[in-house]
């Protein structure tokens, strides 16, 4: 496994924290920018509201290094004792489990707990829901041969396994409880993490106190925390300003951060990072004329990403131009490579002239269609308005229909749309799995374009199993070009940008490219 660390320009954005000695005590009040989650069970939920509310209570097997959360391959043990080297040509991973970890009820945590939790995630029993079951298709079995050992046996070796194992939702649950009632963790909390659960006020707040028996000695620094559900952006901005809450961990738009800095600049710190979330414009290949690659290519060529990005970044949570892979990842294209792909050409006049030619050739010069967008300001509506304007420059007439989440998802799944604005949001940067979104619908349930393409699938399967970094990168470049240009199956517009303003007394937290990871609060301390 390569250990290429990349900072995404993060170093400049991070406040100076290295030299300060952590202080103990205090209660962190933070906001969760959502309504209360459907359940507390990380295995079954996908919303960040679950992970922001419950991650402090749980341990995981491995995780991204909390001191270096921007990395895509700096994995460290949480419950294991050392990061193992795989055997059997990368198909057997044996983890030794630490013997000083205790459940919050005082009982000892064993390898059986770890193996059972993972078995429920990878191969859930009938009637048990695991949202990420499909992520672990490479895993054959998870077993605990003794009280301190967990063995993952893979069907095939892949570099995608370790990042997938560091998934922030993969909480370790107590095996006895899971066996007795696999739904127990949906409504109850009992973990082995840095904080013990104290109280949940339905729809309003969740509270925890320091776990004195936490196995990472000296952690956590806080005495406790209160997390308040606050879905409205203006409330969150006002609350940070008035110090009713110190931080929210998802991200605020540039205008809100500007407002906070202007009002209370000296008390507000800001961390920023590229976000492992790409805006995607999906065209329905089953509707004419989007079944014609020339039309799809023309639509991509009409969008001026290089000039749109800096302008949009002033008002929306987007910033970076990129292909299907998270920008900054070793598998991502360089700008020079990207500029060769349709939709990323540096000369927009040439690009639009080609778009007009392709439309004329396809007999779709005066094309008009509807773009469905989600009723979420950041950044869906901004992106939709922008691309509609860009398309108008090659003579297209596109209207926007803004719908709530339910109908938006329904339109995609049932194919009742012409074009739709959506996103590909992932957790730990794991390009080999993250790009599954761009595979045909008969392979990837996340893809709603409505096409089948064996060439693309074969290319992906070779890439998934390739372990030579250079060859893997070459295959990913091929996959990127094929998906966005040759077949023009979809369009990736801009990558999201995470901006976290917070009270300057909050220390020890580092931003990551995903709102899902590094949320156990163990390293946070208050400089009060």
């Amino acid at each position: 496994m390569r250990r290429l660390l990349f900072g995404f320009g993060l170093a400049l954005a991070l406040p100076a924290v290295a030299a300060e000695a952590p202080k103990r005590g205090g209660t962190l009040t933070y906001m969760i920018p959502a309504d209360s989650p459907p359940s507390f069970d990380g295995h079954r939920e996908t919303t960040y509201a679950t992970v922001h509310a419950t991650a402090p209570f749980y341990s995981v097997l491995i995780r991204i290094n909390p001191d270096n959360p921007s990395s895509s391959d700096d994995f460290v043990c949480d419950l294991c004792t050392a990061m193992p080297k795989p055997t059997d040509e990368g198909k057997i991973w044996t983890f030794k489990i630490r013997d000083d970890a205790k459940w919050h009820d005082g009982s000892k945590l064993t390898a059986d707990d770890v193996a059972t939790s993972w078995a429920y995630i990878v191969h859930p029993p009938v009637g048990v829901l695991s949202a990420r079951e499909g992520t672990y298709t490479m895993v054959d079995t998870v077993t605990a041969p003794d009280a301190n050992t967990v063995v993952f046996k893979l069907k095939f070796a892949t570099d995608a396994f370790l990042p997938a194992l560091a998934d922030a939702y993969s909480y370790i649950y107590k095996a006895d409880i899971l066996r007795k009632d696999p739904h127990w963790y949906e409504k109850n909390i009992m973990g082995s993490g840095p904080f013990k659960f104290t109280e949940y006020e339905s729809g309003q707040a969740i509270r925890g106190v320091r776990n004195p028996d936490y196995y990472h000695k000296g952690l956590p620094y806080l005495d406790g925390f209160t997390a308040i559900f606050a879905p409205k952006e203006s409330t969150r901005v006002d609350a940070i300003r008035a110090d009713r809450a110190a931080i929210e961990f998802r991200g605020l738009p540039p205008s809100a951060v500007e407002q906070l800095k202007k009002a209370d600049g000296d008390r507000i710190e800001v961390q920023t990072s590229d976000w492992n979330c790409a805006d995607v414009l999906t065209l329905n290949h089953k509707r004419k004329p989007f079944d014609d690659v020339r039309v799809r290519r023309a639509l991509a060529l009409a969008i001026d990403q290089w000039h749109g990005a800096p302008a949009l970044s002033k008002v929306a949570n987007v910033r970076t131009v990129g292909g299907v892979v998270f920008p900054g990842s070793p598998l991502a294209p360089t700008n020079a490579e990207l500029e060769k792909i349709a939709g990323f050409w540096p000369d927009i006049d040439k690009s639009r002239a080609e778009a007009r030619r392709l439309l004329k050739e396809a007999g779709a010069e005066n094309l008009s269609f509807e773009l469905i967008s989600r009723n979420t300001d950041q950044p869906f509506k901004y992106i939709a308005n922008w691309v509609i304007d860009e398309w108008s420059k090659i003579g297209l007439k596109v209207s926007q229909k803004v719908v709530p989440t339910g109908p938006w998802m329904d339109a995609m799944r049932t194919g009742q749309y012409e074009a739709i604005s959506e996103a590909n949001c992932q957790s730990v940067v794991n390009p080999l799995l993250d790009v599954q979104k761009f595979l045909p619908g008969n392979v990837s349930a996340q893809n709603y374009n409505g096409y089948e393409d064996q060439i693309q699938v074969d290319l992906y399967n070779r890439m998934l199993r390739e372990q030579d970094p250079a060859k893997q990168r070459a295959l990913m470049r091929e996959f990127d070009t094929y998906t966005l240009d040759t077949a023009a199956h979809t369009m990736v517009t801009l990558w999201w940008y995470r901006i976290i303003p917070y009270q300057s007394y909050v220390k020890g937290w580092k931003i990551s490219p995903s709102q899902y990871i590094n949320q156990d609060l163990a390293t946070i301390w208050l400089d009060k």
């Binding site: 906001m31 959502a34 309504d35 209360s36 459907p38 359940s39 079954r44 939920e45 996908t46 919303t47 509201a49 009637g127 048990v128 829901l129 695991s130 949202a131 990420r132 079951e133 499909g134 006020e201 339905s202 729809g203 309003q204 209160t226 308040i228 559900f229 606050a230 879905p231 409205k232 203006s234 409330t235 006002d238 609350a239 300003r241 008035a242 110090d243 009713r244 809450a245 009002a263 209370d264 709530p404 989440t405 339910g406 109908p407 938006w408 998802m409 329904d410 339109a411 799944r413 009742q416 959506e422 590909n424 949001c425 992932q426 957790s427 599954q436 979104k437 349930a445 996340q446 899902y516």
Partner: protein, 323 residues
């Protein structure tokens, strides 16, 4: 009177059944379903098997008629089932939010009544004077100003003023504490939303009080009271105001019922975890059971409030009581 009450209570049954059928059908006409919102609403990817398992778990894979009969049978037993979103009993979800909504509704009503009735009466008695003009402008301002805008502006004003005056910006707490646990913190949170909602509510009631008072003051019995030499205070308090309050009471009742579940935007602005916010969440999440229960609750509140208003009519107007 008892017969009248019994008749009114019995009339609620078809009303509730109609509302139940309507909300059941309308919710299912919205494209999408709760499992899609739950698994993919956050933008994350999910396994398609999870969607099937989710449908089976919450019972939306059953025939619609079975779901409807189940719902109606539940209503008959006062059992609204469990929230499809949280898996908790619907009653638990609603009861957790009811205190804050009830408190805001009561406080806003108090604010409204204490402003509307005296000012409305004074405005009528001082018709076409500067006082009347001032009160009318105040009232029109209240009607024209949306509560949510007033809420946002009032929070910003409080932040700016306290920041300027003390150096530390202040705003109401964003988490609810019951009044019996911490009365000061509770009122800190409730007072601003109560004033912003109460202002609009007062404005409407004030105009109603004024017009009702003007009408009553021209009635024959007021002229008779004056002719027989009653002092003005008794004429106004005992004869005019009491009669003028009939339409005002109706309005206050309807507004109060509306406030219990209707503070949708205000609750969002002030981060109040009330019934209105729960309503929005339930509809957005396409949580059929919770939405159905909340609609039924709202219908029941309206029916009950109208019943109370009718009984108050009897107290205010003896002609109704003895009829």
């Amino acid at each position: 009177m008892y017969q009248y009450i019994i008749k009114r209570v019995l009339l609620t049954i078809p009303t509730l059944f109609g509302a139940a059928a309507l909300v059941f059908l309308l919710m299912r006409l919205i494209p999408g379903d709760i499992c899609l919102v739950r698994l993919g609403g956050g933008g994350a990817s999910f396994d398609p098997k999870a969607l099937i398992a989710c449908h089976a778990e919450i019972g939306v894979d059953r025939p619609m008629i079975v779901q409807f009969l189940d719902f109606i049978w539940g209503i008959c037993r006062f059992d609204f089932g469990t929230s499809m979103w949280s898996g908790k009993p619907v009653s638990t979800e609603i009861l957790a939010r009811l205190p804050i909504s009830l408190e805001i509704a009561l406080l806003a009503t108090s604010v409204a009544v204490s402003i509307a009735i005296p000012l409305g009466a004074i405005s009528a008695l001082k018709q076409n004077t500067w006082i009347d003009v001032f009160v009318r402008i105040f009232a029109i301002g209240g009607i024209a100003t949306p509560s949510f805008w007033l809420g946002i502006v009032s929070v910003l004003l409080v932040l700016d003023i306290t920041g300027w005056a003390t150096g530390t910006p202040w705003m109401p707490p964003i988490d609810y504490v019951p009044i019996w646990k911490d009365p000061i913190r509770n009122l800190e949170m409730a007072i601003l939303p109560a004033i912003t909602v109460g202002y609009r509510y007062a404005a409407v009631s004030m105009r109603m009080t004024r017009s009702a008072m003007l009408e009553v003051m021209r009635e024959d019995y007021i002229r008779t009271a004056r002719a027989k030499g009653l002092i003005n205070k008794i004429i106004i308090n005992r004869h005019a105001l009491k009669n003028a309050l009939l339409p005002v009471v109706t309005l206050i009742g309807i507004e109060f019922a509306f406030l219990i579940g209707g503070l949708v935007v205000t609750e969002q602005v002030f981060n109040l975890n009330g019934v209105g916010r729960l309503f929005v969440q339930a509809v957005q999440n396409q949580d059929y059971t919770l939405t159905q229960a909340l609609v039924m609750l709202t219908v029941a509140i309206f029916v009950f409030t109208n019943l109370v208003v009718d009984l108050l009519y009897g107290w205010l107007d003896p002609r109704i009581r003895f009829a």
